[in-house]
Amino acid sequence: MTTITAATAAPAPPVFSRIWRIVRLITANPFTAIVTPWLILGTIFLLNWLIWLIIFANLGADQRSNAQEGIQWSGAAFYIFVYMLVLAVQAINLSFPLALGYGSTRREFTLGAMLTFVLLSVMYAVGMTIGAALEKATDGWGLGGTFFRTIYFGGDEVWYVQLWVYFCWFLFFFFTGTIFAAMYVRWKASGLIVAFAVLAFLVVGGGALLTFTETWHVLWGTIADLGVVGSVSWLLVPAVLSAGLGYLVLRRATPRG
């Protein structure tokens, strides 16, 4: 039984379809990535609106403008970003073994996952911008409240700037989730510990640095100068770094256990 030749394989399907099928894999259950977030956002919004109703019903006209200014700083909508971070973690952690089991390469998987996150960021940014437009048109949902146009989202900016701001926020959270998930997939608990340690080091270390060099005012000044748009745009830097690192980390990850 001598082997004469090695059997050869038919060529692989085209690159883009190999990456696109990962997008379809991650969004296979449309509820998770597309329906549920809107439901959550809607619910939080509704709750907020009811709370404003209650608050304003008990305030006089002069106190109202104070309250409205306060609401501009409300972080209520941020739950949606936390959801996106968790989504990214789940997608990377659980779709990775299945994608490999189906015969995908790690490269295709990582690129596909990132493409998914970028597309979702665009979709949600558009959705939020529409929400913001409606908010403006209804003059704060009939109560002068702000949900989509809070300070963090560049409340007073023109729509395409707002779109950009939303997009940056979403991208940041998606890719932060990506790097943590990648560390976990590659090195399990140890990887996660290292990731958190690095994060803690950066935050505490950064804070310590600013304190000892007494340059906190420089930080606040820069943020003030950049404005919301500029500051949020800078979030793209850690986002891109996380994406790049995530890619490198997953290159040698295995679907263990």
């Binding site: 039984m1 001598t2 082997t3 004469i4 030749t5 090695a6 059997a7 050869t8 394989a9 038919a10 060529p11 692989a12 399907p13 379809s17 190999r18 099928r21 379809r24 894999l25 991650i26 296979a28 259950n29 509820f31 998770t32 789940q90 997608a91 659980l94 779709s95 073994p97 299945l98 490999l100 089991g101 189906y102 015969g103 995908s104 390469t105 790690r106 490269r107 295709e108 040698r252 295995t254 679907p255 256990g257």
Partner: protein, 303 residues
């Protein structure tokens, strides 16, 4: 005859350099021919799953070489698109229902047959709308088996596919596999420790023990390579004189010995000596090769 998988001195070690190192696969070399059903047999933890993960590029080899369809499978889309390997311990995303698995699999397997998949869902009675997390062990195995069969991938792996499947479902799997293999020939690698159930399906057998290959043979040859002779102790001892004895056991005045294949004359001679000949099943052969002798109870032996 072409080889679809070739491994040379393949090794996989886990852990550090010192005592804690695990040799999951140790210096393994073999080649698998195209369009055959190959059996990868061995005890739990012998290295079957690790070996399959190495061959499918899911794990990285520590040493050695592996060629699938002539090239390394690692990060090789061309090779990987010909493979299907759904492990028995396969994890699925939390939000996946069975229908999502069946909906996403076709994108990864060019030969996917949706009608066949639907038929198998019926036959194995898998609830299409249930969450993967809520499936019973048997249903989970069934999904893996269905994907493996319906993918019609040129190189398909079944890693202990029967776990959780009851006897009826297992028989269904074997029958379906055989029928589909006959109609749509492809290379199939089956790992199992229910050896006797699959022994008639296999053409080529590889037995792995503690990471090393101890048997690599044509199934038919292997089956006929040994025979049990049973009879009075004296007669047995006399007959096996000068022969290689693979295994010996006994009870009272009766003894049994497993020896290498006998030709027709020798068989007649054995019968005339008052001995009975019994076949050695593949499972018995594998077990005896991996654990050695069973205690001879009449002599008060301890193994």
């Amino acid at each position: 005859m072409s080889a679809v998988i070739e491994a040379r001195s393949l090794s996989k070690y886990y852990g550090g350099e010192r005592g804690g190192r695990v040799h999951a696969v140790e210096d393994v070399s073999f080649s698998l021919e195209e369009n055959r059903i190959h059996g990868l047999l061995g005890r739990n933890g012998a290295g079957k799953t690790t070996l399959m993960q190495l061959v499918t590029g899911q794990e990285f080899a520590t040493r050695g070489e592996i060629r699938v369809f002539g090239a390394s499978p690692v990060e090789n889309a061309r090779v990987l698109s010909q493979l299907c390997f759904i492990k028995e311990s396969q994890r699925y995303p939390d939000d996946f229902r069975v229908k999502h698995v069946l909906g996403t699999a076709p994108h990864f397997f060019a030969n996917w047959d949706p009608a066949f998949a639907a038929e198998l869902i019926e036959r194995f009675r898998v609830p299409v709308n249930r969450r993967m997390k809520k499936l019973s062990r048997g249903q989970l195995s069934a999904v893996g088996v269905i994907v493996g069969l319906a993918s019609r991938a040129p190189l398909t792996f079944f890693d202990e596919p029967y776990l959780g499947l009851d006897a009826v479902a297992r028989q269904l799997f074997y029958d379906t596999l055989l029928a589909d293999f006959a109609e749509n020939p492809r290379t199939i690698v089956l790992s199992t420790h229910l050896i006797d159930e699959v022994s008639n399906l296999l053409e080529h057998v590889i037995v792995i023990d503690e990471g090393r290959i101890i048997i690599d043979a044509d199934a038919e040859e292997l089956r006929g390579s040994a025979v049990d002779i049973v009879g009075p102790r004296g007669a047995v001892d006399a007959f096996v004189e000068g022969r290689e004895v693979l295994h010996r056991t006994g009870l009272g005045g009766l003894a049994s010995a497993t020896i290498a294949r006998l030709d027709e004359t020798e068989r007649i001679a054995a019968r005339e000596a008052g001995l009975e000949l019994a076949p050695v099943s593949l499972q018995q052969l594998v077990v005896r090769t991996t654990i050695g002798d069973t205690p001879d109870l009449s002599k008060g032996d301890n193994a």
